[in-house]
Symmetry: C2
Subunit: 249 residues, 2 copies
Amino acid sequence: MTGRLAVVGLGPGGPEHLTAAAAAALAEAEDLVGYAPYLARVPERSGQARHASDNREERARAETALALAAAGRRVAVVSSGDPGVFAMAAAVFEALEAGPPAWRGLDIRVLPGVTAMLAAAAAAGAPLGHDFCAINLSDNLKPWALIERRLRAAAEGDFVIALYNPRSRARPDGLARAFDLLRGLCGPDRPVLLARAVTTPEETLRIVRLGAAQAEMADMRTLVIVGSARSRVLDLAAGPRLYTPRSSP
Amino acid sequence: MTGRLAVVGLGPGGPEHLTAAAAAALAEAEDLVGYAPYLARVPERSGQARHASDNREERARAETALALAAAGRRVAVVSSGDPGVFAMAAAVFEALEAGPPAWRGLDIRVLPGVTAMLAAAAAAGAPLGHDFCAINLSDNLKPWALIERRLRAAAEGDFVIALYNPRSRARPDGLARAFDLLRGLCGPDRPVLLARAVTTPEETLRIVRLGAAQAEMADMRTLVIVGSARSRVLDLAAGPRLYTPRSSP
């Protein structure tokens, strides 16, 4: 088969954080496939077909992309951030495993990007400077009990904790439960970063203590980072910064 | 003060994975500061001063960069991958906190990059498609007991586990101990990715089961990813791929 599929990370928002490899794959594609708001971030090129779909349709979107590639097209599936982190790359491999055997002969490449936690961390300082974990707070595809088990394990390991998809209209309560659980395990003093729409004109950063953290401070465009026992807030002229030293006693 | 400091992520190796923002910051800098092999990845520009230093001198390197910025220079500190992940950004904030109060008025920006685990994951498929953690296996700056506590917590939470700095000449034994510990906790069947020099001409990828994983398969240029209970190996025409489905029962 001559078609090929690139799963492309668009980075966190600002076009200046796209990699050159991702930009090249977008320019070469004959077909662009993705969630409509992400496709809208890709500059229009004449002759390129666009296949926009709704949120939560990742599996169908992956099948569309694979079928186009199998028909000989050069296809790019776009993801915000990095496609491998809670995004389209896993959906493509799920569809591939369940699909026609011929799909396993396709040329499939994943092009990494700057995922939201890296961009949020950079904007706020260096909170991921020591061991950390990333947990998707959405319980669309996993039971809440597993999320709770992971939050407990993350606290037990004293990891810095990045929370993806902390809150949506369909899931208004998970973040409040997560904050309550972590307050009980870690106490009220941990610094918490709420980074919204990072690297876009709407970017806002807020650093509070876990005791004062409220779910209403986040929405679906927010990335939350809860510090470890070693994380520190430093007041600079430009505002507060959050960082985690490299060493632990 | 008019000087400024950018802490710049060079990405995993291949220049095509640099972001546009990082490239611009490198081009604008009057002074480049970094570990010599990373500085060597930045194209030479006339008029730019280069300040190369050895490994393990992160704190002194950060102080050099801050002092240059305080003297009014436009400075870029370079890190491989993302500067916020086990790299220079935390060292800069440590130096800032301990340094002269005037440094807190400097214009300091961290420019994110594609960190090694994202590049390794992309090359191998989508192993980070579900909740994961990142642990630096170097015990230069933390006791081994803390590393072991975090490995145990990561296994308890059934996280995918990315291991940075798995092995060096000065620390030949940590990875073997980590594999032994994880085999005891997770059994022999977990897939393990050993990704070396990803995105460079020397790139090699190897996927084995935890029962067969040996420390000798890694060196200081290797990133190791140990799958969760859900991670799967898929055989494609181009070779085996490792991915973690988005859902958990």
